[in-house]
């Protein structure tokens, strides 16, 4: 690059010198959402919201889907992969064609807590989408050939998934913090998947794909009042007296040693810490949310500014909440080069302690407050973003009112509230966690740091 150019120093200044940053203008509130929140005669809760920004609809079905059985995770995973592969009325290709012609898509996924079906289509294709969805929910056939093929693919995909550092770290964290609670079984074992039979999948569908206790969120270019009738009609045949199966409550986390889990030859380590917090309905939650943002919940947080922007230890550091039913924990994640791992863990703990001892300043609190309120508005400005927000809320019994009222709750939080939440919830001793990485290199420094043990999670 030898073309004539200024020096870096010349580029960085102008004759006029630095300029003042403009202040903010006035902000108008987002329009109220026209919505209906009701329960259908089959016990399915429906949250329908009008948002005609584009001629589409977004749909989310959340079905509690827990199971204690050893084969449950494998069976549930096969079910999620084959739910939309055929019914008495449509084979796999007809399902795909019917959806494609309305610009539509339906996808299903499962975890230890719930089965989720996500749908989107052009608004005028909604009757077709509801028909296909209801057809699958009431009459998925789980044909032998489809189950066998998806079982094979699933085994291959599990192999790929288990080589992903993030999956390895997640499994290690889950086992370390929750032992053998059903919640830890997020990726099924290949040998379990191999023995799942079509009949077992059909039986699980009959036993657990249930409307009572489940929630359907629909957002888009719809009339909420009318759509309730359409849904009542479409899902009339989906009924049971029993309720969908909820996950047993998770035990409260207690702080403990960080477990160093060996992954030979890794060039980067995954730091994963976790502590018990309170959930969205707790009066302390808004202050806790702001405390978390100051700690590591956004780019301008203490953690990111320290270990990324100041020290270059990481590209990605983040802390955020994980909600399970009515409970919540805060998780701290950072991926960092092997050489920098011990120092990064030290800084991560230091920032946890500092959050309580040197509490967020008024400026820090104001910044996260605006960020939290602004993020809500931005996320809610698209159909998909709003559907995702509401689906997460609805799963714990909340709805549009909570979302609409949250900016006000955030506005009411004081710096003192944030300081109290920081001291109460972010104390380093409250955290447990794992570091996954090249243990041969990491062990001497990490064990010297203290409160670190080496081994596989029990």
């Amino acid at each position: 690059m030898s073309a004539p150019h200024r020096t870096a120093e010349e580029i960085g200044r102008t004759a006029a010198g630095p300029r003042p940053v403009p202040s903010l203008g006035t902000q108008r509130a987002a329009a109220d959402l026209s919505h209906v929140d009701t329960t259908l005669s089959n016990g399915l809760r429906v949250l329908a919201v009008r948002k005609p920004t584009v001629p589409l609809v977004e749909l989310r079905v959340w079905i509690p889907f827990a199971g204690e059985d050893k084969l449950h995770p494998a069976t549930a995973e096969v079910l999620a992969e084959t739910l939309l592969t055929g019914t008495a009325r449509r084979d796999r290709i007809e399902i795909d064609a019917d959806l494609a012609l309305i610009g539509g898509d339906l996808a299903s996924g499962v975890d230890p807590e719930r089965l989720v079906v996500t749908g989107t289509s052009l608004a005028d294709g909604l009757p077709t989408m509801l028909d296909v969805l209801a057809d699958a929910l009431t009459g998925a056939s789980y044909a032998d050939a489809e189950v066998e093929r998806e079982r094979e693919r699933l085994i291959e995909r599990i192999a790929v998934s288990r080589t992903q550092p993030r999956t390895i770290a997640r499994e290690a964290l889950q086992k370390h913090r929750y032992g053998d609670h059903p919640a830890v079984r997020e990726v099924p074992q290949a040998e379990d998947v191999a023995v799942v039979t079509p009949e077992q999948v059909r039986a699980l569908h009959r036993a657990s794909v249930l409307p009572r206790g489940s929630v359907l969120v629909i957002v888009g270019d719809i009339d909420p009042e009318t759509v309730i009738g359409d849904l009542e009609k479409a899902f009339g045949g989906w009924a049971s007296d029993r309720s969908a199966v909820r996950l047993p409550p998770l035990p409260d986390l207690v702080g403990g040693n960080v477990l160093l889990v060996p992954r030979a030859g890794a060039v980067q380590s995954q730091i994963r810490l976790s502590a018990q917090t309170v959930s969205r309905t707790d009066p302390r939650y808004p202050a806790l949310q702001l405390a978390n943002l100051v700690y590591g919940g956004y780019f301008s947080s203490r953690l990111v500014e320290n270990i990324r922007e100041d020290k270059g230890y990481t590209y990605s550091a983040h802390s955020g909440f994980e909600f399970t039913d009515k409970t919540a924990v805060v998780n701290v994640d950072a991926d960092t080069a092997t050489d920098a791992t011990a120092a990064a863990l030290m800084e991560t703990r230091y920032e946890l302690a500092r959050l309580g001892l040197v509490p967020p300043t008024a400026e820090e609190v104001e910044s996260v407050r605006q960020y939290a309120i602004g993020s809500l508005v931005t996320a809610a400005s698209s159909q998909g973003g709003l559907a995702a927000q509401l689906s997460a809320l609805a799963a714990t019994g909340l709805g549009v009112e909570w979302l609409a009222g949250h900016p006000e709750r955030l506005a009411a939080v004081t710096a003192e509230d944030v300081a109290n939440a920081a001291l109460e919830f972010f104390a380093p001793k409250r955290f447990t966690g794992v570091v996954v990485g090249d243990a041969d290199v990491l062990a001497p420094k990490l064990t010297a740091l203290g409160d670190v043990t080496v081994g596989e999670p029990a």
Binding site: M1, G25, I95, A100, G312, T378, G385
Partner: protein, 439 residues
């Protein structure tokens, strides 16, 4: 869809501006696209465009280090940037009250970024972590976007790795940064886009106020990156220590995205006919009927369509079991392409693909950040932001014959085949995906 209001004008210093007012939500999106991507990096400086993107966040004359992030986020907004083959974008989405602030932030770094040795060293470290995260420490890292181009292309701009090798990144100097900025980051080489809740008069005034005095520098002459299509089938192999299963990536040259848009769109529809949905030809045959692969996908561009000028790449990627050979996958692929070349697809096949495209374009448009970026990149690459609103219609107009012709042009004797083999190798230096300072 009917064209929403779109206002385009150019400032005296050459900055092109696109305004797309929309008052449905009290938020605004602001983006600046610079006409430089990793294809323009000099030899010996792989990864420089992306590294420089990181540096543009590190301060400017009126803004100390970290101030950019803090001002955006404390205004309730979010930000990011990303580096592509032919452009680099910077963007933020904020509550409407922060519009002027966002314009100020973008103007300040366009006028006078603070490029310092300390920030350069820090961001080299951060980018290396990004590459470890996205490429070196995970299965199929950089597949196919880093691994396929060196097999398909023979010239440095098209073939090299846009994430950069560690030794190249480590050698980047402050003088490189200054030269790069003065050459490529002039207002005349950029497009500013504002979308969302504002009035045109207000936005015009604020843009003139903040960008009007950024000094003009002539935009650089854009070189041609053209090179001949391969004569024959080129093969390459990559050993991936983290991959549990083999994979294959096939790369073809495709029509000029800008000057032969109709031909390019026919390739997009073809990609859908091949792999979009359970009913698509390759999914049906290779995933379900014969089963030869675990997953298969086809698409235009290494990161998606409308991201690059000519030459662009049509890619097909598949992960398959050990007992299946690369040639089995290729033979089935060639047979399906021959069928399409001989007999154009059914109308219903096309309708399935184009209806899904229409819905996905609506969905992208519904997300303010995606809309802002699409308008900016189309203005930059096509000289016409409004094309964004006509894409769905243009896709629907693609004929079965055009798709058939596109299939015919994907010839086995003019392509690249990259094989990813699981195994252990000496750890390699690779580079990586296009996302910039992530949040």
């Amino acid at each position: 869809m009917a064209d929403p209001e779109l206002v385009r004008f150019t400032l005296d210093n050459g900055l092109r501006v696109v305004l797309a007012p929309d008052t449905t939500a009290p938020v605004v999106g602001v983006s600046v696209h610079y006409d430089v991507g990793f294809r323009s990096e000099p030899e010996g400086r792989t990864g420089f465009a992306h590294l420089f993107e990181h540096l543009m966040f590190q301060g400017s004359e009126s803004l100390e280090k970290l101030a950019h992030f803090r001002y955006v986020q404390s205004s309730g907004g979010s930000f990011n940037g990303s580096t592509h083959p032919d452009y680099t974008d910077y963007f933020e989405v904020l509550p409407a009250a922060a519009l002027e602030r966002a314009l100020f932030l973008e103007a300040d770094r366009m006028r006078a970024p603070k490029l310092t040795q300390e920030n350069l060293a820090n961001q080299i470290d951060v980018v290396k972590e990004e590459i470890r995260l996205n490429v070196l420490n995970r299965p199929y890292g950089g597949f196919p976007w880093i691994l396929l181009p060196p097999v398909l292309y023979s010239t440095f701009p098209n073939a090299h790795n846009g994430y950069g090798g560690f030794e190249d990144l480590e050698q980047a100097t402050l003088d490189d940064c200054a030269a790069f900025f003065d050459t490529y980051y002039s207002p005349a080489n950029a497009v500013l886009t504002v979308a969302g809740d504002f009035t045109v008069e207000e936005a015009r005034e604020l843009i003139e106020k903040h960008f009007g005095d950024v000094p003009h520098r002539p935009a650089p002459q854009r070189p041609s990156f053209a090179e001949p299509a391969p004569e024959g089938e080129l093969r390459g192999e990559h050993v991936d220590p983290h991959a549990p299963l083999p994979a294959v990536g096939v790369g073809y040259r495709m029509p000029d995205p800008i000057n032969d848009l109709d031909g390019y769109l026919a390739n997009l529809v073809l990609a859908g006919v091949l792999t979009d949905g359970d009913g698509s030809r390759l999914q049906q045959r290779l995933v379900h009927r014969e089963p030869l692969v675990v997953d298969i996908g086809a698409g235009a561009g290494l990161f998606g369509p409308f991201e690059a000028r000519d030459p662009d790449t049509f890619t097909i990627t598949a992960i398959h079991p050990h007992e299946v050979s690369t040639d089995q996958v290729l033979a089935a692929l060639d047979e399906e392409l021959e069928k399409l070349a001989a007999t154009p697809p059914e109308d219903q096949e096309l309708k399935k693909v184009t209806a899904r495209w229409a819905a996905s374009l609506h969905s992208e448009h519904d997300k303010l950040v995606s809309r802002t970026l699409a308008l900016g990149s189309f203005e930059l690459l096509y000289g016409d932001a409004s094309l964004v609103y006509r894409l769905a219609e243009k896709m629907s107009a693609v004929t079965a014959e055009a798709v058939s012709a596109a299939a015919k042009a994907l010839r086995p004797d003019s392509r690249a085949v990259l094989v990813v083999r699981p195994g252990s190798a000496d750890s390699e230096q690779a580079d990586s995906e296009q996302e910039g300072s992530e949040q």
